[in-house]
C-alpha cells in the first residue's frame, strides 16, 4: 500500500478537478458528497498505510516514494517524492481525518448556499496542498504545499466576497503570509547555498557535519521560523488569523485551527535536526511562542465574537506549540498539534453549529440560554472547553502539561508566562461557554419580538455527528501521550515513542518527577481558578459582556486588541503607502514614464519611418532581398580580399 501513497494527494486533487469543472452542474449537495467522499477515501488510504507502517520495525518506518523528477538543475534535484515516516503519518492522519469530518459537516453547514460547489472545490484543493506540505520529501514540495494552502486560505477566507470585510480579510491573510513566505524562501535559498540539496534525508545527513550554533544554521533556521510565524500566526505576523474568521466557519475549523496554521510547527519538527543545531533560534522561538500564548490569551478575554475568541485562543495555543518546540520538545509540540486539532476543530464546529442555529449571529452578547435548544452542540462544546482549559484526563491537559513541563526544564521564567496563559485560557473559554449556553436568551431574532427565538433548533445529523466524533477524540486523544509518571496502564507515551525516529527531541529533563507532579497540580489549579472567575462572573452573577462603548482604560485597549492593527496600519501600511506615493509622483511619473514613453515615441517614429518601406509591392521586397544578398557577397569579398 505504501507505494500507492500518491493516492492520498491524488484523490483530493481529483475531487478538486471534478468539482471545479462540473460542480455547477452537480449542485451543492452532490458536490459536497463528492468532496467528502474523496477526502474520506484519502483518509482510508492513509489509515491503511499507517497500519502497514505499524507492522514494520521501528528503524524501517521511514519510506520515501519517488514519483517523478520535477526540477533537475545543476546540483539541485527536486523530485516529486513523498516521505512516509511517523511524523508525516501523524499529520496526514490528522489532516485527512479531521478534514473529512469537516467536509461532512460542511454539507450541512453550507446547505442553501448556491455557490457551494466552489467552496467544496477549494476545500479539496486545500486538502491536496496540505497533504503535499505534509508528505513532501523535500523543501520544495513542502513549499509548494505551503503556498498552496496559503492560496486556498485566501480563497476560502474571501468566500463571502460580496462583503468588503471578507475580501479585505482574505487580502490581509495573503499579504501577511507573503511576508512570512519571503523569510521561508530565503531560508530555502540559504539551504540550497549551504547544503546544495533540499531533500530532508540528505539534509539530515549533511547537517551532522555542522556544529551547534553555527551562524549560517542560525540564519537558516531563523528565516524558516519567520515563514512559520506567518503561517502559524505568531507575533508579529499573527494579525491575519482573527480577521480570517470572515470565512465560513468550517473553513476556520479546518484551515485556521486544525491543519494549516499548525504547518509551521510541523515544518519545525520536520527540520528538527537543523533546529537542534541552533540554540539561539530555539530560544527566540520559545520566547515568541510564550509571548504569543499570553498576548493572544489576554485579547481573547474581552472578545465578544464567538469566532474571534476561538481565533485568539488558536493563536494562543499555537504559541504553546512553539513554546514547546523552542524548548526542544518537538514531539510534545506535535502532540499538542494533534490534540489541538481535535478540540479546536470541535470548538469551531460547535461555534458553527451555534451560528447556524442563530442564523449567522456571532456576537455572544446576543446569545445565551442555548443549552436546552442545542443539546448536542452544548455537550460537545463543553467537552471542547474542558479539553482546552486543561481539565485532567482531557486531551488538552496531557499535551499542554507535557509542553509546560519541558518548558519548565528549559526556563522557569518562560513557564510562568505559559502558566499565566493557561489561567487566562481557562477563564475566557468558560466565559465563552457560560455566556453562550447559560443565562437568559438575549436573541433579537426576527422570529420573535420579545427574544423568544422559535427558529433556533439543533443542527442536522450530518453536522452533529462530526461534533460527536471529535468530542470523543478530544476526550480520549490525550491518552496517546500519557506522561511517564501517570502511566498506570504502562502503555508508555505512545506518540513520543512513535515519533522518536523522525524528530530530534533535545529537551532536557533536569527536575525530578515530584516537580512534574507539582507543576501538574499548579496548572490544574490555575485552570480551576480561571473557571471559578468565569463561573462567578458569568454564571452566578449572570453577567454579560459590556457593550462596546462601555469599555475604558486598559480594558478598552485590550478590547481593541492593543490597537495592534492600527499600529501596523500606521507603521507599515501608511508609511509604505506614502513612500510609494512619493516614488510614484517623483520617480515613476518623470523618470520611468519618461524612459518608457521616450522609448515608445522613438520606436513609434522609427516604425513610422519603416512603415514607408512596406509598400505591399512585391518588387520592393525583392529589392530588399537582393540588397541583402549583395551586401553579404560584398562583405565576403572584402574579407577575402
Amino acid at each position: 500500500m505504501i507505494e500507492n501513497v500518491w493516492l492520498i494527494t491524488a484523490l483530493p486533487l481529483a475531487g478538486f478537478i471534478i468539482i471545479g469543472l462540473l460542480g455547477n452542474r452537480f449542485g451543492e449537495k452532490l458536490s459536497g458528497i463528492i468532496a467528502s467522499l474523496f477526502s474520506s477515501l484519502a483518509f482510508i488510504v492513509t489509515a491503511m498505510i499507517f497500519i502497514e507502517v505499524l507492522t514494520k520495525e521501528e528503524s524501517a518506518r521511514k519510506i520515501v516514494v519517488k514519483l517523478f523528477d520535477w526540477i533537475v538543475a545543476g546540483k539541485i534535484n527536486a523530485s516529486v517524492a513523498y516521505q512516509i515516516d511517523p511524523l508525516s503519518l501523524v499529520m496526514t492522519l490528522v489532516v485527512t481525518g479531521v478534514g473529512s469530518l469537516i467536509h461532512f459537516y460542511s454539507i450541512g453547514y453550507m446547505h442553501g448556499d448556491k455557490l457551494s460547489a466552489k467552496y467544496f472545490a477549494y476545500l479539496n484543493l486545500f486538502m491536496f496542498s496540505m497533504l503535499n506540505l505534509v508528505l513532501g520529501s523535500n523543501l520544495l514540495i513542502m513549499f509548494l504545499g505551503w503556498e498552496g494552502v496559503g492560496l486556498c486560505s485566501y480563497l476560502l477566507i474571501g468566500y463571502y466576497y460580496e462583503t468588503k470585510e471578507a475580501g479585505d480579510a482574505g487580502k490581509k491573510a495573503f499579504i501577511v503570509n507573503r511576508i512570512g513566505d519571503f523569510g521561508f524562501l530565503i531560508g530555502i535559498f540559504l539551504i540550497i547555498f549551504v547544503f546544495g540539496t533540499l531533500d530532508f534525508s540528505e539534509l539530515e545527513h549533511l547537517a551532522k557535519d555542522h556544529h551547534s550554533g553555527e551562524l549560517v544554521i542560525f540564519w537558516i533556521t531563523l528565516m524558516l521560523f519567520i515563514g512559520a510565524t506567518g503561517k502559524s500566526a505568531q507575533i508579529p505576523l499573527y494579525v491575519w488569523l482573527p480577521d480570517a474568521m470572515a470565512g465560513p466557519t468550517p473553513v476556520s475549523a479546518l484551515i485556521h485551527a486544525a491543519t494549516m496554521v499548525t504547518s509551521g510547527v510541523y515544518m519545525l519538527a520536520r527540520l528538527s535536526f537543523l533546529y537542534v543545531k541552533a540554540p539561539e533560534t530555539m530560544f527566540i522561538i520559545c520566547i515568541i511562542g510564550a509571548l504569543t500564548a499570553l498576548f493572544a490569551a489576554t485579547i481573547g478575554m474581552l472578545q465578544n465574537d464567538i469566532k474571534k475568541v476561538l481565533a485568539y485562543s488558536t493563536v494562543s495555543q499555537l504559541g504553546y506549540m512553539f513554546m514547546g518546540v523552542g524548548a526542544g520538545a518537538f514531539s510534545a509540540g506535535i502532540f499538542h498539534v494533534v490534540t489541538h486539532a481535535f478540540f479546536k476543530a470541535l470548538l469551531f464546529l460547535g461555534a458553527g453549529s451555534v451560528i447556524y442555529a442563530m442564523h449567522h449571529e456571532q456576537d455572544i452578547r446576543n446569545m445565551g440560554g442555548l443549552r436546552k435548544k442545542l443539546p448536542i452542540t452544548h455537550i460537545t462544546f463543553l467537552i471542547g472547553t474542558l479539553a482546552i482549559a486543561g481539565t485532567p484526563l482531557f486531551s488538552g491537559f496531557f499535551s499542554k502539561d507535557e509542553i509546560l513541563w519541558k518548558v519548565f526544564n528549559y526556563s522557569p521564567a518562560i513557564w510562568v508566562i505559559g502558566a499565566t496563559g493557561a489561567l487566562i485560557t481557562s477563564y475566557y473559554m468558560f466565559r465563552l461557554y457560560f455566556v453562550t449556553f447559560y443565562g437568559e436568551s438575549r436573541s433579537h431574532d426576527h422570529h420573535g419580538l420579545d427574544g423568544h427565538d422559535q427558529g433556533v433548533h439543533e443542527s442536522p445529523l450530518i453536522m452533529t455527528l462530526p461534533l460527536i466524533i471529535l468530542a470523543v477524540l478530544a476526550l480520549a486523544g490525550g491518552f496517546l501521550g500519557i506522561p511517564h509518571i501517570l502511566d498506570i496502564f504502562h502503555s508508555g507515551n505512545i506518540i513520543e515513542e512513535f515519533l522518536h525516529h523522525s524528530v530530534s527531541d533535545n529537551a532536557v529533563v533536569s527536575h525530578g518527577k515530584y516537580m512534574e507532579i507539582l507543576l501538574m497540580g499548579i496548572s490544574v489549579l490555575l485552570a480551576f481558578v480561571g473557571f471559578i472567575f468565569s463561573y462567578k462572573l458569568f454564571f452566578k452573577n449572570k453577567g454579560i459582556p459590556r457593550k462596546d462603548e462601555e469599555y475604558a482604560g486598559l480594558q478598552k485597549t485590550v478590547y481593541n486588541k492593543y490597537y495592534i492593527d492600527e499600529i501596523y496600519n500606521i507603521a507599515f501600511v501608511k508609511s509604505i503607502y506614502h513612500f510609494a506615493l512619493v516614488l510614484w509622483r517623483a520617480f515613476d511619473v518623470f523618470v520611468i514614464d519618461g524612459i518608457v514613453n521616450g522609448v515608445a515615441r522613438l520606436l513609434k517614429n522609427l516604425g513610422q519611418g519603416m512603415r514607408e518601406t512596406e509598400t505591399g509591392v512585391v518588387h520592393d521586397y525583392m529589392m530588399y532581398m537582393a540588397g541583402g544578398l549583395v551586401s553579404f557577397f560584398v562583405l565576403l569579398f572584402l574579407f577575402y580580399l
Binding site: H619, M623, A626, G627, L629, V630, F633, V634, L636, F637, Y640
Partner: protein, 200 residues
C-alpha cells in the same frame, strides 16, 4: 586515343557555343515584351543547359532537364499564358521604372564581379583540396551514368525519393483545391446574393 583527343579538342567549342546560347536566350527571356516569346526563349535556355550537362558527363540530368523542364513545365507555362489570353496589348511595356531597374542591374553586376573574383581563385583551390568520391569519369564510362545514378537514388536516397511522390501528390491536390475553392466561393456568393434578394 584518336577520338578522345578529338573530344578534348572540340569540347571548349561545344561549351562556349551552348553556354553563350544559354546566356543569350536567358537575356532574351527578360527583355522580350511578349511572355510567350519569353517562354519560348526559356525553352531554348533549358536545351542549352541540357547540352552543358551532357558535356559535363551527366547524361541523366540532361535527360531530366529536357523531359521535365523543357517538356513538362514549359508546356504548362505556355498553356497558362494561352489560357489567360495575355495579348501583347495587355502587356505593353512591362519594365519597372528606370531607377529601380538600374539599381537592380547594378546590384547584380556588383554581385557578379564579387562572386567571380572569389570563385576564380576559390573553385580550383577547392577542387584540388576537397575529398573526392569514387565515381570517376572512368567508372562512369564503364558502368553507365544511369545505372550509377539509379543505384544511388533507390538505395541511399530511397526515402527522399518516395517523399517526392508525396510532394507531387500534395501539389496535385493543392491545385485542385485552389481552383475548385475559388469556383465554389463564387458559386456560394451568388447563392447568398440570391437568397438575400428574394428573402426578407
Amino acid at each position: 586515343m584518336e577520338t578522345s583527343s578529338l573530344i578534348t579538342f572540340i569540347k571548349p567549342f561545344v561549351f562556349y557555343t551552348f553556354a553563350s546560347l544559354a546566356v543569350i536566350s536567358a537575356i532574351m527571356v527578360i527583355v522580350s515584351r511578349n511572355p510567350l516569346n519569353s517562354a519560348v526563349m526559356l525553352v531554348l535556355t533549358f536545351f542549352s543547359i541540357a547540352a552543358v550537362y551532357a558535356l559535363m558527363g551527366s547524361e541523366v540530368i540532361a535527360v531530366f532537364q529536357i523531359l521535365v523542364y523543357a517538356g513538362a513545365i514549359m508546356v504548362l507555362v505556355i498553356f497558362v499564358i494561352m489560357f489567360l489570353n495575355l495579348r501583347p496589348s495587355n502587356l505593353k511595356i512591362q519594365f519597372n521604372h528606370i531607377i529601380r531597374s538600374g539599381i537592380a542591374i547594378v546590384f547584380m553586376l556588383i554581385m557578379f564581379i564579387a562572386t567571380m573574383s572569389l570563385l576564380t581563385e576559390g573553385v580550383p583551390f577547392y577542387m584540388a583540396n576537397a575529398a573526392k568520391g569514387d565515381i570517376t569519369q572512368a567508372v562512369l564510362e564503364s558502368q553507365g551514368a544511369f545505372q550509377l545514378f539509379s543505384r544511388a537514388l533507390f538505395t541511399e536516397y530511397l526515402l527522399p525519393f518516395e517523399l517526392t511522390s508525396l510532394l507531387l501528390t500534395v501539389a496535385i491536390i493543392g491545385v485542385v483545391v485552389l481552383i475548385r475553392g475559388i469556383t465554389n466561393t463564387v458559386a456560394t456568393k451568388k447563392e447568398n446574393f440570391k437568397t438575400k434578394g428574394d428573402g426578407k
